[in-house]
């Protein structure tokens, strides 16, 4: 075996000091065995690179998560207020008298989804990190995530200017009890503004 064979990968990676680097280059001009091994190792690196890309491409996006635009906390509150108003109206408003024409549908309860608002994007279901369960066939599959809502809150709506580094905002994870009451709210700092600036050309 050639005495240079242990330095071939360091040479490919340009990790040798200048002097051994030059010595190796001179040697490669004379040694067919080392040239063959260099080609082999570069081939392995290329396959590994393709493999890594394939793994990432094949991995499912569990929630197709995209960083949502930064919307004001006021807008989020507006949606909540609108929702509460609708709920209250459904409680206090007496039912309409029966319509003489049976084919007309009563429309006394406006549906929030029919009134699109940019603020509606501020609230979205969040898929928690999937937990794994082993099936009888021995395969690992994700368990369904807990139901939750995620609200984006700009840092400057909660803190004075300069208190939080530029580019950081907050995501509030809200989870609800079966009766509709809020069970838990957790604020997580996230680099939403940086993410947005990087994703824009």
């Amino acid at each position: 075996m050639c005495k240079y064979s242990t330095k071939l990968i360091a040479w490919i990676d340009r990790e040798l000091e200048p002097e051994p680097m030059a010595e190796m280059e001179q040697h490669l001009g004379d040694c067919g065995e080392c040239r063959l091994n260099i080609a082999k190792y570069e081939g392995i690196s290329k396959i590994l690179d393709d493999y890594c890309n394939a793994v990432v491409n094949a991995e499912p996006d569990w929630d197709q998560r995209r960083w949502i635009p930064i919307l004001s906390a006021a807008a989020a509150i507006l949606v909540l207020v609108a929702t509460v108003t609708v709920v209250l109206r459904t409680v206090v408003q007496p039912p309409l008298p029966p319509s003489p024409t049976a084919s007309v549908q009563p429309t006394q309860f406006p549906i929030v989804a029919e009134a699109p608002s940019p603020a509606a994007d501020a609230i979205r279901p969040r898929r928690a990190t999937p937990k794994l369960a082993r099936t009888q066939a021995g395969k690992w599959l994700p368990l369904p995530p807990k139901t939750a809502v995620e609200v984006a809150i700009p840092a400057d709506s909660m803190f004075p200017p300069g208190a939080v580094p530029e580019g950081i905002n907050f995501i509030a994870d809200v989870s609800f009890a079966p009766d509709g009451s809020t069970r838990q709210m957790r604020l997580r700092p996230r680099l939403t503004a940086i993410e947005r600036s990087v994703s824009q050309p």
């Binding site: 990968i9 690196s45 493999y51 991995e59 499912p60 998560r65 530029e166 580019g167 680099l191």
Partner: protein, 179 residues
């Protein structure tokens, strides 16, 4: 100009310059970090959370005025340690059958090429699974574009040990794949 106002101005200017540096590093390293973490076995959204946490740690690191040399290695170390804490995911990649793993990627290739690619990746995955943890991690960090000294920082190894480990790992793959 009082000493007090200067003391207030200093951290603010530092925050601004840190934000610029973090943004630039984020632009450069977000994809390699995600790829490394997913290849280790994390789910994509799990990996995104780890990347976010790593950059937030970087923010704190820079704002506290801590050392900035080998910052790429430092960032990968933070992400790597968080990945290792998620044991369930960390050991998932090389413990499950790979037959269905690459189907989405190969949809657009011809059937013949698909079979060859699948077979090649299957053999490679088996060969990677047979490596030691540190050999696998060194290889994946090298594939992420890190220099040996940066890999050493990420895995808390001497640079010369990284060189030996990378070489040993590639030789093993070469023997297993018979390339």
């Amino acid at each position: 100009m009082t000493g007090e106002s200067m003391q207030i101005a200093l951290p603010l200017s530092r925050l601004a310059s840190d934000a610029g540096e973090v943004t630039s590093l984020y632009r450069e390293l977000r994809e390699p970090l995600l790829r490394y973490l997913v290849c280790l076995g994390l789910f994509k959204d799990e990996a995104q959370d780890v990347v976010q946490d790593a950059f937030l740690s970087l923010h704190r690191h820079l704002a506290a005025g801590r050392p900035q040399q080998n910052i790429r290695g430092w960032l990968f170390r933070v992400a790597h340690n968080q990945a290792r804490n998620r044991q369930g995911s960390y050991h998932r990649r090389f413990a499950e059958p790979l037959d269905s793993c690459f189907a989405p990627m190969l949809d657009e290739t011809t059937p013949e090429r698909m079979v060859l690619e699948k077979e090649k990746f299957h053999r490679l995955a088996k060969a990677i699974a047979a490596l030691t943890d540190s050999e696998r991690e060194c290889l994946l960090l090298r594939a992420a574009g890190l220099r040996y000294r940066e890999i050493g920082e990420a895995l808390d190894m001497a640079t010369s040990t990284v060189g030996d480990t990378v070489e040993r790992a590639i030789r093993k793959l070469s023997e297993k794949l018979d390339v």
